[in-house]
Symmetry: C2
Subunit: 658 residues, 2 copies
């Protein structure tokens, strides 16, 4: 009799090995961090003895689940914002909050919360990508879970680095320190092809190769990403990253929703693992990944929850079920992805996808003891049929819940016994998490109190407060003014002339004191009449005029300007206006010198709605005295141009429309 | 102060009323079976007192969930068979087992099991369709849940009726007895347009109108159903059932996956309610229902689990989440079906879909007290943000689980307190359910032991054991034999002549003693050379020859014949053969009289694989003596036809191919 540390008996053992051996009643012998033997109870009881002989009460004993793609600290952002488009969710909520809050303390707590939730749902191994990854690794190792912790690298500033070189250096040091750890496999995570430069992708691949660690990235999550790549690079995403040498490394590619058969063959050729993330892909409407096709071609496809901020939980039982459901639904074939094959993706194949199949994913002698016990006859999984040997797999995939997991062992050590977590202080985590949520609530509530802070929160908004002296006069016809401006004997010196089509969308809000947001698309029209250049500008127009001079000459309202880097749709969903109005106009814009003072002259023809033609004269100002002088010059200039100052209006075009 | 039976305080109350009032801290006052008041805690504590003042501990207090379509007794068939196509699942497993086991006792137990599971997951009302529906109503009322229990009517024999007239009569008596019950609304359920005749649909509608009870049916679940309807009736399903007067009744239409915009308008016009069943539609690969479109047009769409045999549970939290996920995924719009709108479908709108919005579905004074408490800060739903008033809905839809429901009240009576079921004996139900499963296992295991019993189990297989005397001779050319047979001076009298193309698929199994299944498609070729008629025949060919006579004349193996009413694909998935072989041949078949004895003569040319031409002579026989005599006659006939009896073979064509 060989003595072992643990002898688990009276279990329905699903080994998930190559032959899908099932032993019922079965047993597993564990010593140190590893599985010593698996087989029928009688054979193991004959061969092994243990001071810790554990009666599994007929439960299923199976390999722990592998969560193949996640961002664990984002548990702390769970439910922060939902039902939004990816860009609004990411740039309107996640990134501003991350910029403000993500720190070593944040990721440590978020990791603890995630680990507690994952252990409760039978996960023993996960594959992570986030910031301050070494702190995540520490927290994970302390809890006792197995993980790939891959340090993010992006071309933008991140919470843990101002430049990508810092991220890379940090990753190198971290990988050196953790390489060879019993639980943690350090890795590198160039976030995605569209958030990294070719230089970053190459450097990450080189680092991964140098230390023989996995490279974790996002590939082809949305159709938009693929369209952009095809437009800019003339190829889809997989060939592009191949060109950057990514596949020299052991790649784990998350999502792969929009890849074609050629790309699947490339992934297969380079033995890249894929993580399929069905909840995330559905909730963010990314599409239906070609999982069945990937499996047919022989890729190791694992299943991941993605970050809990976009899911909104870390429940692998739901992901497994959904993987099968969605493939059946999307292919129209109810026999697609049957239960056993789907469960395989979350165990042995998932481990292979993470390039750690030699360590975990099945119950086989020599592999690490990553095991879970699942209660098979709760109310929602009653009764059980035994006529079909596939029945147990179907029960787990189609009816088991995370709450049916009672016991979890990782690396030969119990992390949960009889639903009690042994290595985390659940109450302390819950309490600390709520404290973070209160701080984030306050931050967001403050932001939501003003349009200005909302505008600033999405970044890029340069706080350009501009004061102008301006007057606008309705005119019947623009041609006489144009003639006057361009006449060679004019007292006006034209410094610049431009032609634009301007499409303005105004967002109105219930609190008028907040002002109005204007989204302007400026199409610059060239000499040949074609659009030469398009730019977007976002302006927060203050609610009040600062002062009014004689004859409707205004000292303009305050404005905050920002280049509009996002789409109109983005801003619409982000600012959630109460009301929208549109104005389209043709604008001839002149920069002129008149009596030694520079003015902008706009000759506007408003097409939509048809409210007529206008002459607008503007000049920047910096003092009240300057404004007084300029206001008189403006009146003079208007008269000179033959327009009638009595036709002046203090209304913005948008006010005429209302 | 008004005294009430229960005053629930310290709750986050989601009323789900028209204005989506939310009170936090809120309170609800209940007296008798009804809600007396809902509002802020302070206002209700000012107005109401109670001996049963209940501190809800900050949990969400919301209307109980509405399961808009299910077949509750099928809990007992949960996990019986999975990953199969609808027809194989239904006709290969569900129907044979139902024929054998469904009884008043079965449905009572199955209902109790279902009710226990549904209470645990926060369901207070469900809409059922099954057999022995009065027994389901009884069991439900005893447990204390609210339900529409609709008696099934089909054109086929059912476990509770041999003819549809019986079902209708039973339904009428049942409706009379239960109409006006405080918890149960009796109803009628013509199963589906394709399982009912127009006469049945009309009679059901008339009965529903006569008693003003709901009519529950399946509409357009699969594309196949719609194709057939268009082919046979020249219209899709909704206009067809409209033509049968179905919409005179208060209709609840389950599925509506494949309906067009016109049909949606028709459903809206007649105020039909729809039940969307996302798990079932995905798992059976039925398709993606146009839920967003139905909601836009104004239909009341509820959410249902469908029967637990095709789901495999009754978890409305999963269905709600999936409803939102699938619409986002299928429409490509992540803002589709946001949390609040989706939760509405499972509460007030669901009740409206069941034509019982006046009774339940929201927390409003006067409605029945159907309430649940949901724990909002378990690990998997931590932390909570409060900056967005939609946040609570999102938390429930995207992260809450059935196991977070702690308390359930129906009709003013507690059914669960602090996760303890008060009106069902869970252990007794679990035990009795397992006993049923054992019996069903035995039944299926017995069936699986022989091909014959598997063939008989799917019904329609007439147990025609046939014995023939037969001889088969290889010939070079068939024409001389044809000439001889059709020559007017022949001693052979040709009684009948037919020309067939025969396509045979043989299924082989590891246990050769079981025999071989042959699926034959017989194309009858008319005088003009065109196919006039096609029939399918299924034959179980016994494994051994019963006896061999001189010169390879055989007393043939036993055969069981059945018309093949299902597709080849169905039989393939049902019998799961180890190996398949195909044979295609051209057959001229003659019925002749020779020496006062009738024989069948087959002149076969085997096209695929090309194994040559054969003359086959057969005759039915009934005794050994008769067989002896005929075997001699057969030899004589073969000689007469100019073939060489030395070329005789005892092999079946399929054996030559192996």
């Amino acid at each position: 009799m060989t003595n072992v540390d643990f002898l688990l008996v009276n279990a329905n053992v699903l080994s998930m090995d190559e032959q899908f051996h099932q032993y019922n009643p079965g047993a597993v012998a564990v010593s140190g961090n590893s599985i010593v033997a698996v087989g029928s109870q009688s054979s193991l009881e004959f061969e092994y003895s243990s001071d810790h002989k554990i009666d599994c009460g007929g439960k299923v004993l199976m390999p722990g689940l592998i969560n193949a793609h996640t961002h664990v600290p984002m548990t702390l952002l769970r439910g922060l914002a939902d039902d939004l488009r990816l860009d609004v969710w990411l740039m309107g909520y996640m990134m501003p909050v991350e910029r403000e809050f993500v720190s070593p303390d944040f990721v440590r707590l978020g990791t603890q919360l995630a680990c507690a939730e994952m252990i409760r749902s039978g996960v023993t191994t996960f594959n992570d990508m986030y910031y301050f990854e070494e702190d995540i690794a520490k927290a994970t190792a302390e809890v006792g879970m197995r993980a790939i912790c891959a340090q993010s690298v992006l071309k933008f500033p991140t919470p843990d680095a101002d430049f990508f070189e810092e991220s890379l250096e940090m990753a190198r040091d971290y990988i050196k320190r953790w390489k060879g750890h019993d639980l943690i496999i350090p890795g590198i995570a160039p976030h995605a092809p569209y958030t990294c430069t070719p230089e970053i992708l190459k450097a990450c691949a080189a680092l991964a190769v140098e230390f023989d660690v996995p490279l974790h990235t996002h590939i082809s999550e949305t159709a938009f990403e693929v369209e952009n790549m095809r437009r800019d690079q003339g190829m889809p995403v997989v060939p592009y990253v191949k060109k950057q040498g990514l596949f020299d490394a052991k790649v784990i590619a998350a999502h792969c929703v929009h890849i074609d058969e050629g790309e699947i063959h490339t992934l297969k050729h380079y033995n890249a693992g894929v993580s399929h993330n069905p909840s995330s892909n559905l909730k963010l409407a990314s599409g239906f990944a070609p999982v069945k096709k990937m499996l047919e071609i022989g890729i190791n496809v694992g299943i991941g929850t993605d970050g809990p901020a976009s899911n909104n939980d870390l429940d692998m039982f739901e992901e497994i079920r959904l993987t099968s459901f969605v493939q059946k639904g999307a292919t129209g074939d109810p026999t697609a992805l049957p239960a056993r094959e789907t469960l395989l993706m979350a165990t042995r194949m998932g481990a292979n996808a993470l390039h750690m199949g030699h360590l975990t994913g099945s119950i086989e002698p020599g592999k690490r003891a990553d095991l879970i016990l699942v209660h098979m006859n709760p109310l929602h999984n009653t009764p059980q049929f035994h006529h079909d040997p596939q029945g147990t797999y179907a029960q787990i995939v189609y009816a088991s819940k995370a709450s049916d997991v009672s016991d979890v062992m990782v690396n030969g050590k119990w992390l949960m016994r009889d639903k009690e977590l042994l290595t985390v202080d659940e109450d302390a985590i819950l309490h600390a998490s709520q404290e973070y949520a209160r701080k984030i609530d306050t931050f967001l509530a403050t932001r939501e109190t003003s349009l200005l802070s909302k505008l600033l929160a999405i970044g890029g908004a340069s706080e350009e407060e501009s004061f102008e002296i301006q007057a606008k006069v309705r005119v019947k016809d623009l041609q006489p003014i144009i003639d006057k401006l361009t006449s060679s004997e004019s007292e006006i010196d034209v410094l610049k002339r431009r032609h634009y089509k301007e499409y303005d969308v105004y967002f109105f809000f219930p609190d008028v004191e907040q002002g109005i947001i204007r989204y302007r698309e400026d199409d610059f029209i060239g000499a040949d009449g074609n659009v030469e250049n398009v730019r977007g500008r976002l302006t927060l127009i203050g609610p009040t005029n600062e002062g009014q001079f004689e004859q409707e000459v205004l000292l303009s309202r305050s404005r905050y300007l920002a280049p509009a880097t996002q789409s109109l749709r983005f801003y619409r969903e982000y600012f959630k206006p109460h009301l929208e109005k549109e104005i389209e106009k043709d604008r001839l814009r002149f920069l002129v010198r008149f009596e030694d003072t520079e003015f902008f002259i706009n000759l506007d023809e408003i097409h939509n709605p048809k409210i007529g033609c206008f002459l607008e004269v503007k000049s920047r100002t910096w003092s009240r005295q300057d404004a007084e002088i300029k206001s008189q010059l403006v009146t003079k200039l208007i008269n000179f141009l033959g327009a009638d100052i009595d036709e002046a209006t203090s209304e913005d075009y948008i006010e005429m429309v209302r």
